[in-house]
């Protein structure tokens, strides 16, 4: 699976204003709502579900990356977005580091395989330090889109 298969370009945020976990999740879900990727009226329910998942264990998987996610019955295909915080956010990461890169995923309840393949793609690309470094330095949406496209074309991972 490629970034282009699930990342909503319109919902990408190059500079998050939120400075805590719930704020980041709200800002990213709001971006998906504005991009019409999630149904009007499901905003609160989706934010709540993602926060509930975080309570089970942080999705801050290390290296300054977090993948907040949930399944949600109102979604019929996997949607996601990317956001960056230059300041970094305390996300209770597994390695204790502040998080700069966020990949938020919402999947239909009956498609665990798609969710796994999206996680696979995110983690595979993020193992590449050059990709991580460039992404953290991205200044605007166009930079991020370009980096995701390059990653999709295997320009970082051999």
């Amino acid at each position: 699976m490629k970034f282009a298969d699930f990342v909503s370009r319109e919902a990408i945020r190059a500079e998050l204003t939120a400075d805590d976990k719930e704020g980041v999740i709200r800002e990213m879900v709001q971006a998906l709502l504005a991009a019409k990727k999630i149904p009007q009226g499901e905003y609160d329910s989706i934010v709540k579900a993602i926060m509930k998942r975080e309570e089970l264990g942080s999705t801050g998987i290390g290296r300054g990356v977090a993948v907040p996610h949930t399944k949600h019955p109102s979604i019929d295909r996997l949607v996601g977005t990317v956001a960056i915080s230059s300041e970094g956010v305390d996300f209770d990461s597994l390695d204790g580091e502040r998080v700069h890169l966020f990949f938020l995923l919402i999947s239909p309840p009956d498609r665990p395989g798609d969710h796994l393949r999206a996680l696979e793609n995110v983690s595979r690309q993020l193992r590449d330090e050059t990709f991580c470094k460039f992404l953290k330095q991205a200044k605007n949406k166009e930079d991020i889109v370009q980096l995701l496209e390059e990653a999709d074309n295997n320009q970082f991972v051999s």
């Binding site: 579900a49 509930k52 998942r53 089970l56 264990g57 999705t59 998987i61 290390g62 290296r63 993948v67 996610h69 949930t70 399944k71 597994l94 665990p112 395989g113 969710h115 796994l116 393949r117 996680l119 696979e120 995110v122 983690s123 595979r124 993020l126 193992r127």
Partner: protein, 96 residues
Amino acid sequence: MSMRSTRTVVVTNPQGLHARPADLFVKTATRFASKIELVKGHERVDGKSILSLLTLAAVAGTQLSIEADGPDAEQALDALAKLVEQNFAENEHVHE
């Protein structure tokens, strides 16, 4: 004394090896001194790295070999195989 040992397991939890099971696996693996690797087909990854584990995209039904090399290899394999066999203590009712 260094020992090298392998155990084959099948992922049986319906959601597969997603973020939380991968986190649990890594937390368990890092309790042991042995080097731990996870093998799926021709892919071999570090069993103590969550990013590496997630690249396997191991869906339900996937067969995995857990390899341990070190002084506590057997104990590590016992603990890790149990974790996989018990579906990573996943509760299907939990909203994931």
